[in-house]
Symmetry: D2
Subunit: 275 residues, 4 copies
């Protein structure tokens, strides 16, 4: 911590260098980058409605799952390739950047073809063959923290990627598993602050998985950014109750302007801009 | 969450009523209340130096331990009654409000005589005889969350107090015990947001115990206030390395202005004032 | 671990010395000591029925709560002094040793008057004034592990007692709080083995609180003894469904012979006797 | 729990059907099956020495890692195909059954060619592409519990395998991550008892990873079998201090007879035989 630094420019203690995810768009620099979208891509209509809402607010990154890792084999597993095509189409229409998950080694090439940023999910943080595969890909990687992985293991997982040649890594804190049952996970804002100070990578927060409740998403998003997060990954849905996955935690689209306004104020308080 | 509320005044989702801790000073209203002081009262000089620094920044509440619960019987156990007298004397000199811990039922009367607010420590959150005793005291109570307690158990503990007649309760989130070893505890900002929305009591955050590292105290304080905390309880020390307890987490006095400035900005972003 | 020891007598790795709890009855020696009884003393009839069943099987220690620490202030808080009197009366009738909890410092003297062994509950493991009080009592103490306390903190708590002069301490592993929701707690058999090897005190297991389900009590009891426990503290009830507290985990009295038989076989496999 | 069952044959509460892993060798029946071997196959000499020791005690299954999942990219990652060949060669010499881990989807075919039983490691319990792949393999699968996974998630992971056609699943409890730092993990004996009663699959225990300390392996092995485990997976090494991975937890080969003797006694106490 730079206790003696005079200006607000140094408020965020920062050891990382920015990761460029699109022309003129970097994570880990002066901007706080808001990324939002559905848990799962369900249809063209659903995804386009969301993309349009993002575009209207000036949000530049859309997230969405085409391949879904689901605890139960009975749950909706995603649209697969069709989902990727939908994401790309609506993103291109509105000039958005796409981030989506590669579930296994065999998906990496395909995902890299349609997406701008490859996400490694929390359950896969220590699946080394997948880390090695994206370590050879030519796209930035969002590495979600395992929900029961230590910060040290998280940074080691990043090293498994960087050793294969890919340094464009963005860490994502998405809540850890604790004894507390009233929220789905516990957002570890300490970890956000710690990796900001000690790791070479930018870090973003996922207030949706970290809380599991739409009502807590905005306060958790504020806390993540206040702790130093360089961006947010938020699940939104036009009709949360009808969502095919993670219905409880999806922020309704009409709450997005409020999220945007509040996060903008927190970012400004830290001398940063929200994009 | 009030998603449709138009003004910033409603940013903080709030189900609680303020608790008056001194004339003109309430926790849980429009103000964010900064409370700071040494982990343990070590001497008149140490405590006066801190009180003076608080006063210069306009901070109105001093915290400090006279009776210290220590894991090891070999650790410094506090100055006891002498510590209470020192706290009262320096507080009176600078017009400060005093908060300090009552370690057991036999201390409650004594602590109530010298302090303005009685603190129940984390290890004692489920020590019912002590809850019943402060339930009959005529002072506001800060109820720290057990580091191993669920939100539901925390609110039940508050009910043990209120049933005996004392409703002047302030909850304090001070970090929970998780699997993560790189920080002393994990600050549960989700819990702050949740009790703000669902409980009748204000809630404050303790970024010192929640992190265990001075370098993380300011980001954690920002996160707690951003999540909705009505105040902060921060450990400071004129010479952290010489502190008799919790040396690693004590913020040096010279960092207090930076903390004050940053928290003031976060509070303002939420439409609140820092006092 | 004594890998080279030839005889079965040395199977249990042991660093402790026995604690005498009644004439001819020690915990921590060659015998495994079964202690059973109701969660809460509810009536003379209920307690006497249990005592009689214990006596018939040759079980020599009765447990039962007179003062109950309850998460909710609305739950049954125990019969208090009347409960102690009932326990003493039925114990004397059947020649049993009594173990019961002292909830706070003000109960210690009273509990010591009626009971043979004073129990410190899990929530109170770090309530130091209580530890100091039983440290001056003239009775053996069962120190339950805090459900979220490390082994190191547990041993430090024991030291808070022994420093005041009372070395007659029996540790009790009763399950720790983890992320697993399907059982009430997680029985930490590792901890039993560890304190057996490294601490100066005997250790017993509580399979009732450690599981929270009557169906798991017998397997958990077997595991605790196999890990090296010197005894067991088991909740039984004549009519579990009608129990005023912890109904789910109470073993029905008619299952006690099966528990007794199975634990006897495990003890014998380790070269020990069950009493 | 079968409280009324008269004979010792019913001591182990059992909802599962046995899984045949070699001619005349089943896991989940009357026998407790001991499986042992090195964490990692390091050389032909090391592996043969272990195989010979197993053979002398009548142990029929050898475990050993050829592909090693390692937290740090700097750690020894295994001998790969050479390791598989060594395992097969020494197993054939001594008539042993081989169990080894498939680290990713691309290893499954290869591992199935050399091994008799395919292991899914703890970090991969929710890596669905791998579960689907072994779900189509023609070999029994040992599914280790994720160290961060609930029993419910573990059983769902098994369902991901069985849905693809492979029902020959053996669950393996290998310790969960908790707040306790003095052991590497916490052996969850409750979970062993629970899945024995409620799942269709046999369950074995891994006392090596569950404890992380050689001194605790034997007591933990006893506890696992006493809780109802149908077998054990134990790491042994001729020279633990020189082991290339997990040196602290490897049982020295000369302690294997003591383990064998003690587990044999516990198994017998439950009416089972050790093979």
């Amino acid at each position: 911590m730079c206790l003696t630094c005079p200006g607000i420019e140094k408020t965020i203690e920062n050891s990382s260098r920015p990761v460029q995810i699109a022309p003129g768009l970097a994570v880990g620099g002066a901007d706080v980058v808001l990324m939002a979208g559905p848990c799962a891509v369900e249809s063209y209509e659903q995804t386009r409605a969301i993309a349009e809402a993002l575009h209207q607010l000036g949000i530049r990154v859309i997230r969405g799952g085409a391949f879904k890792p689901r605890t139960s084999p009975d749950s909706f597993q995603g649209l697969g390739l069709d989902g990727l095509k939908i994401l790309r189409a609506v993103a291109d229409e509105f000039g958005l950047t796409v981030i989506t998950e590669a579930l296994g080694v065999r998906h990496v090439e395909l995902v890299a073809e349609y997406a701008d940023v490859i996400q490694i999910g929390s359950r896969n943080m220590q699946h080394y063959p997948l880390l090695w595969e994206v370590g050879q890909a030519d796209k930035p990687v969002v590495l979600k923290r395992g929900f029961m992985s230590t910060v040290s293991e998280w940074l080691s997982a990043a090293e498994h990627i960087s050793r294969r040649g890919n340094d464009e890594i963005i860490l994502c804190e998405r809540g850890i598993r604790t004894f507390e049952p009233s929220t789905r996970n516990t957002l570890d804002t300490n970890a956000i602050a710690l990796v900001k100070q000690t790791s070479p990578y930018p870090v973003i927060g996922d207030p949706s998985h970290a809380t599991g409740h739409a009502d807590l998403v905005i306060p958790a998003a504020r806390a993540a950014v206040a702790a130093g997060a360089d961006g947010l990954l938020v699940e939104v849905h036009p009709e949360p109750r009808a969502a095919l996955s993670d219905a409880d935690q999806a922020l309704p689209l009409e709450a997005l302007p409020e999220l945007h306004k509040q996060i903008g104020r927190i970012a400004a308080a830290l001398g940063r801009s929200l994009v």
